[in-house]
Structures are given as C-alpha cells and as structure tokens.
C-alpha cells in the first residue's frame, strides 16, 4: 500500500514537470520573456537580490516593449543559481527551457562562467550585469556585459592606493571565490608595478573568524587593507577592524558598494573606500523613482536588506533591463538568435550608469570608475572622485 502511495506521489510530481513547466512555455503571443539568472541564496544572495531589484524596478517602470510594431508585455523569469557553480548549470538550463529571449546576470562571476557554455550551446544571448571577471566573456560568443572588468578595476584601485601614499598593501581574498581572487590578482599586479609591496592571504570557505587576518595585517605593518570579498565576509571584517583598531583604510571593489557595508560600518571607527559603477545622486530621477517604488513594495525593501539605501548593482540591474529592451527593438524579434546578431553593434544611451556599447569580446567600453568613501557617522557613501586606469 505504501508503495502505491509513494509511486502515485512520484507520478504526480512528474506530471507537474511537464504540465507545470510546459504550461509556462506555451506563453501568450504578446509576451516576451527575460531570464534573470541571479543568486538568491548562498554567499552572493544579498547582492544577487539587490541586482534583481533593479531589474524588477525597471520592469515596473517600463512593463511593455514595442517590437517590430507590436506591443509586447515583458515577463521576468527569475531563477536562483544559489551562488553555486554546480547548481548554476541546471538553473541556466531551466531558463533556457522556459523559452526566454535573453538572459540577464549574474552577480558573482563564477556562476556566469559556469553557465556560459550552457547559454552558448542553446544560442541564448546573455548580458552580464556586474560579473567583472574577464573569463565571463572570453571565448564565449553569447555573453556580453555592461560593467567594467577586474583588470581595469584592479588597476584603478592600485592607482588610487598609490596616489594616496599607500606603499604596502595587505590583500585578503576568499579561497575558491573567483571574484575576490581575480581582483586581488590584478590589484597586486598593478600595485607592484607602481612600486608597492603586498602581503597576500586567503581565508577558507565558511570562515567567520577574521581576528587573525586583521592581526596579520597589523603585524605586517601595512598601509592599506584590500579585501574585495563578499558583503557577508565584509561585515565581519569591518567588525574585527574596529575591535582591533586596524588603523589603516580598507579598500574594496564594487561588491562593497552596498548598504550592508554602510550598515556594518555605521558608528564604527573605520575608513572604507570602494570603487563602483554608479555615483549616487548622479541621476536624481532614478534615485527618487526607485525610493518611491520601495515605499510601495515592502518585500523589495526586505530583499534590499531592510532599508531603502541604494546599491550600485541595483542601478546596474536597471540598466541591464533597458539594454535588453533596446536589443529587442533593434532585433525586431523575440528570437534569441536575432537578438544575438544585433548585440555586438548595440549602443544604448540614457542609462543610469553611463552609456553602453560592446567591444569585440563583448565587454562594455567603460573607462572610468567612481571612488566612494563610507561616511561612518550617518552610514552613507560620499563621492570622492572619478578614477581612470591611467
């Protein structure tokens, strides 16, 4: 008897697969689907959610698109890649199988690299939002991105550090995390070239005790603490930096441009400097619009980490959505193959984080990054300057 119950349960599940998902694929004629390939859990869950918010907000601002003279409703298909390279493949596959026309994402380069081949195999165009590792677009014809790259960002950070009189850098990355390891690598390369000295260390997965790393940086007598790690670890590092009176600025990349950091640093005696994609206040219209949207959507506020402070990746997500719409318009079709054809020559203007056009590898042509500093008194970002690689 038990056997029969179990079997019928399994059969029921199997049915839903074909019926449930299949139902989705037989979408309305007038709908165009955008796949959102982002982590909602795992190490990069927080950032991934903020990126999705930007896309969702953009969708609420512009829910339809006119393609080839016909009005289409834009539907978002969001999957969670769990910040996990091995889950990323099936997550990507499930997007492909749900008949999306283009994919946006992901936050965190590792999952994008892992999924790149799946998208390539399916001929599915993908637009990276904030994945900065060069490998995402290298050797992959379908992946494009609208943000700058790590070699660029690493150099920018090294320049900033050296220009501000820092000569010895402590670099901390996370073991097994391509993003932080990669960025540290480019930073070290550039910093050494400028004549600086570095101490490099890595911390293992699931580590939450940063006491010794902070102590190591102090022991080595460094001038700057460079740790472009995930925001999860960042909060813990800031905490320890305060506890042990680190006494040197903490430098980081785009991931740290998040309200998680400002929240953690608020009221603490630490100095944090980051490079990022977006300058707050650079586009007041967008700022006001999204704040109003937050007011209407309490769930969005939860996903944003409980407040309405803006993260750079949210702005980038917003831009990515419009890049996708422009691609639809240019292609005049919702067929992935057609979209893929127009993407290399696509130019989009009027975006929040600057105009987007792609070079031959599929990367955005961006030549400057914004440097921001955390105001620890009121927990906000202060714009310092625009920094270039040269």
């Amino acid at each position: 008897m038990k056997k029969i119950t179990v079997l019928s349960l399994i059969l029921m599940l199997a049915m839903t697969a074909f019926v449930g998902c299949g139902g989705g694929s037989g979408a309305d004629e007038d709908t165009v689907r955008i796949g959102v390939f982002e982590p909602a859990s795992g190490d990069n869950g927080a950032g991934g959610k903020q990126e999705v918010l930007g896309i969702q907000y953009a969708n609420s601002v512009q829910p339809t698109v006119e393609i080839d003279g016909k009005e289409y409703k834009v539907e978002l298909v969001i999957v969670d890649n769990e910040s996990d390279n091995s889950k990323a493949v099936t997550a990507a596959e499930s997007l492909v199988s749900q008949d999306v026309s283009i994919v946006l994402g992901s936050y965190g380069s590792g999952v994008s690299i892992a999924a790149a081949d799946t998208f390539a195999k399916a001929g599915m165009p993908a637009v990276g939002v904030s994945c900065t590792n060069p490998q995402v677009t290298a050797d992959c014809d379908v992946y494009f991105r609208i943000c700058f790259l790590d070699p660029f960002q690493g150099t920018v950070l090294a320049n900033y550090a050296y220009e501000n009189g820092m000569r010895k850098a402590y670099c901390l990355s996370k073991l097994g995390d391509d993003y932080s390891v990669g960025l540290v690598n480019y930073f070290v390369e550039a910093f050494k070239e400028l004549g600086g000295e570095v101490v490099e260390e890595q911390f293992p997965d699931k580590n939450s005790d940063f006491t010794s790393y902070v102590a190591n940086a102090k022991k080595a007598g460094c001038d700057v603490f460079f740790s472009p790690v995930s925001t999860e670890a960042a909060a813990l590092i800031i905490d320890q930096a305060e506890a042990q009176s680190l006494g040197m600025p903490i430098l980081a990349g785009d991931t740290w441009d998040s309200n998680v950091i400002t929240g953690a640093a608020k009221g603490k005696n630490v100095e944090i400097v980051v490079t990022t994609f977006y300058q707050e206040g650079g586009n007041p219209e967008f700022d006001e619009g999204i704040k109003a949207w937050f007011d209407e959507n309490p769930e969005a506020v939860t996903n944003n980490g409980g407040n309405t402070d803006l993260a750079a990746v949210t702005a980038l997500g917003y831009d990515a959505y419009f890049v996708a719409l422009e691609a639809f318009k240019a292609a005049g079709s919702t067929d992935p193959a057609d979209i893929l054809k127009v993407l290399p020559t696509l130019e989009v203007t009027g975006l929040v984080c600057g105009d987007v056009s792609f070079n031959e590898t599929g990367d955005a042509n961006k030549s400057e990054a914004f440097v921001k500093k955390c105001n620890t008194e009121d927990g906000t970002w202060e714009f310092i300057k625009k920094q270039t690689a040269n």
């Binding site: 982590p39 909602a40 859990s41 795992g42 869950g45 927080a46 959610k49 769990e82 073991l175 260390e201 890595q202 911390f203 293992p204 997965d205 699931k206 580590n207 939450s208 005790d209 940063f210 006491t211 010794s212 790393y213 102590a215 190591n216 102090k218 022991k219 925001t231 999860e232 670890a233 909060a235 813990l236 905490d239 305060e242 506890a243 042990q244 009176s245 998680v260 929240g263 953690a264 939860t302 996903n303 980490g305």
Partner: protein
C-alpha cells in the same frame, strides 16, 4: 616580550573561539557518551539559537531575549531527539546517524528559507562588544569573558554530573546503556536532560560566538559544529573536561596557524589533528577503552 606581543592577539582570539567551541563540544560529547550518536544537527541548533536572537531582539529586551533563546534551543533539541532519534533508537546505528544528517539538512534549509539566504547581523550587545586593550592587543570584551564563563559553566556541569542523582544516572547510562535501563534508570529522562544541557550550553555559546563574529547565515553552524565535534573526539568522547581542553587546543592552534601564513589550511588543520589523534590514541586524551563483547 616582543614575541609575546606579536602573538598575543592570536592567542586571545584562540582562547575566545576555543571557549565557544567548548560550549558546543559539550553537547556533542554528552550525547555521544550516552547515545553513541554524532548529533550532526547540534551545530545547526547552535546556528538557530543565533538566528532566533536576531528576530527576538526586535521585540524583546536583551535579557529576556537571551533567556528565550536558551529555552528555544532546549525545546528544539529535545523535540529533535523525540521526533527524529527516539523512534530509531533500536534501529542500526547508521539509520540514526542518517536521521541526524537529515535533521541538519532540514534545519539548514529552513534557515535558508527564513533568511532568504541572506546573512543576518547579530544584535549588538554593547557590553560584550566593547573594545578593550590588553597589553599590546585590542579586542572585544567577549574575548575576555568567554574563557571565564566557559570554565564556570563547565565547573557547574561537572559538579552536576558528579554529585546529583541525575548526574549519577547519566554516568551509569553512558557506561552501560542496557544494564542501566534494567536497573530502573529512566533512560528517556536521562537522554532528555542530556539534550537540555547540551542545547542550553550551545545557546549560551551562540550568544558569545555571534557577538564576536556577528554574521549569521544558514551555514554558520556547520563549521563550528564540526570543529567542536573534533574537539570532543580530541579530548576523548564522553568526557566533558576532555572536550573543553580539546576545544581550547583547536581554537588556539587554528589561530596560530592563521598567524603563520598557512591560512588556506586553517580549517583543514582541524581535520589533520583529528586524524592524527585517532591514529595515535583512538579514544582521545581522556577517553576510556571500549572492549567489544564477542
């Protein structure tokens, strides 16, 4: 003196984290001593205690939150014992271990659902997080308090085990499960008390641990849990003082390793230590030899 000053921060950190591991390790060692079960879910009970605190502090005052957290951990632990372990007590040992792994999987996934996979920031307990200076090092207050509180709690626990009736029953059950039940000891009560003690200590440990390392995510309990278990094995499973000693050794050694630049292997080291101790002295430092009956 200079050398001492250089290493002081590492040793302080090691002692603090060692004390926190110790509070978790006691739960492992006691449960193992009585049920011969590695309670894989123990680390997750620890994580949940931390998580609940995050939510409680928004509605309750601090002192009450801490009490509720301890009560919650006890309820969670005893419920798990009743639902997932008790029905399998006569089943093969592998089944109950699998059940423990299943519970751990469930607790982690449920935490993932509740938190949405985001790291939560542990509420600031100002008293514990105050910065203090010791010699050349500055650290948080919790670092100083942890070892003393740990030793006090362990002392109380050892007194309880040595001098109360329930403590005596616990010792009897851990020595010979079947005979004790024949002797009229209420096994279920002893096991429940064991879980109550283990979980309460884990909850207190969580307050200390997360005050020091303020981020909680669904996986926060896994690593401390495994390390605490290794500590319990190191000290000789079933022995409370052994577990505490093992925890301090692991905490300090781990931090010194980080200080010497082998950070990649700071977690792996714990397991190297485990394997070495199992090779040299399989019963741990204070463990007793178990003779198979044929």
């Amino acid at each position: 003196m200079n050398l001492f000053n250089t290493w002081l921060p590492y040793i302080l950190a090691g002692i603090a984290v060692g004390g926190q591991y110790a509070l978790i390790a006691i739960g492992y060692t006691m449960v193992y001593g009585i049920l011969r079960l590695i309670n894989f879910a123990h680390g997750d009970i620890f994580m949940w205690s931390g998580l609940i605190m995050v939510y409680l502090i928004t509605v309750l005052p601090l002192w009450l939150s801490v009490i509720v957290v301890v009560v919650f951990a006890i309820l969670l632990g005893t419920t798990i014992e009743r639902v997932a372990y008790r029905p399998l007590r006569s089943a093969p040992r592998m089944s109950i271990m699998i059940s423990a792994i299943g519970v751990s999987y469930l607790l982690q996934n449920f935490a993932l659902y509740i938190t949405g996979g985001l790291t939560k920031t542990y509420p600031a307990i100002r008293f514990l997080q105050k910065t203090v200076a010791i010699g050349s090092a500055t650290t948080k207050m919790v670092t100083i308090i942890t070892p003393f509180l740990t030793i006090l709690l362990v002392f109380l626990l050892v007194m309880l085990i040595k001098h109360t009736k329930i403590g005596m029953a616990m010792r009897a059950v851990s020595r010979d499960f079947e005979t004790s039940s024949l002797m009229g000891i209420d096994i279920n009560r002893v096991i429940t008390v064991t879980f109550v003690i283990g979980c309460a200590l884990a909850a207190i440990g969580s307050v200390l641990y997360f005050s020091n390392y303020t981020g909680i995510n669904p996986m926060s309990g896994a690593m401390p849990g495994l390390k605490a278990f290794v500590a319990a094995v190191f000290g000789g499973i079933g022995s409370v003082p052994g577990a505490v000693l093992g925890a301090f050794v692991i905490g300090i050694a781990e931090n010194i390793i980080k200080g010497t630049g082998w950070t990649t292997f700071s977690d792996a080291f714990t397991f190297v230590l485990l394997i070495i101790i199992l090779m040299i002295k399989p019963t741990g430092l204070f463990g007793e030899k178990d003779i198979d009956k044929v």
